[in-house]
């Protein structure tokens, strides 16, 4: 049984993906399908709300990596918000904060779409 779910909502032209549960090698396909749906439907301003995300493995991080270029090529970005310390640690260990805009709150992430993206090294 999957202990992961992703749901969508919109704040103006920004699509917020609410992640809940544990994102691992089993559930990564569900997250991948969700991001693919956004790209297919032309949503390119994405905020991943991670406050209810309990766990992430490298498979989950790989999904973020798979979509960052297509989304940025479409003129948007994937911003990450609200990560619990345990989950942020995994992003941080692999240096993903250099590549992704990671904010404390969803409101900050939404506001950031009016500013410049993070360092895209």
């Amino acid at each position: 049984m999957s202990n992961f779910s992703v749901s969508f909502r919109h704040r103006d032209d920004i699509c917020v993906l609410d992640l809940t549960g544990e994102l691992d090698a089993h559930t990564a396909a569900e997250f991948e399908a969700a991001l693919q749906k956004c790209v297919t439907e032309g949503d390119c301003k994405l905020v991943v709300q991670g406050k209810d995300l309990q766990y992430i493995s490298s498979a989950g991080l790989g999904v973020f990596m798979a979509f960052i270029e297509p989304v940025r090529d479409g003129g948007g970005d994937i911003k990450v918000a609200g990560l619990q310390p345990r989950v942020f640690t995994v992003f941080d260990l692999l240096g993903f904060p250099l590549l992704f805009d990671i904010l404390d709150t969803e409101d900050e992430a939404v506001a950031r779409f009016n500013g410049s993206p993070a360092d895209q090294s």
């Binding site: 090698a25 692999l94 590549l99």
Partner: protein, 143 residues
């Protein structure tokens, strides 16, 4: 000297990973690891099991992955063993993380994570058996 040991055998399905993490959490608590160290060990074992399932067994669901834990006075050692295709770390040199990020690599981060999360990672292959041994020290220096 080993204090006690535990063993969990799972079918080679990623749906079993959550079960592995729950077991490792219990073992880590029994070993006296801090919550932070227990989380790190849990993630490292999860990555090792995912590698065994996805690469060792190439996603075939009829294999078995054994997860064995030995609790020592100052550490817990978790061995992940399978009988699929062997993993030779010499043939899979870890690309530099900076290069992986620049090239937007989607795979290959698990091995990096394992090395960052536990104090020692050792690979061993013998005949049809492959294993990775993860050592997490109490009050170790890793995340």
């Amino acid at each position: 000297m080993a204090r006690c040991s535990h063993k969990l055998s799972i079918p080679s399905r990623t749906s079993q990973l959550a079960r592995v993490r729950r077991c490792v959490a219990v073992w880590a608590e029994e070993a006296g690891l801090s919550q932070k160290d227990a989380d790190a060990l849990q993630m490292a074992v999860d990555e090792a099991c995912a590698n065994a399932i996805e690469h060792g067994y190439a996603g075939k669901p009829d294999g078995t992955v054994d997860v064995l834990a030995t609790l020592k006075s100052n550490a817990i050692i978790v061995t992940v063993r399978h009988h699929g295709a062997p993993f030779n770390p010499d043939l899979h040199q870890r690309a530099a993380l900076t290069d992986m990020r620049k090239n937007r690599r989607k795979h290959g981060y698990g091995l990096h994570l394992m090395h960052k999360l536990v104090d020692e990672v050792r690979f061993k292959a013998s005949g049809r058996t492959s294993e990775v041994r993860l050592t997490k020290c109490r009050n170790g220096t890793k995340t």
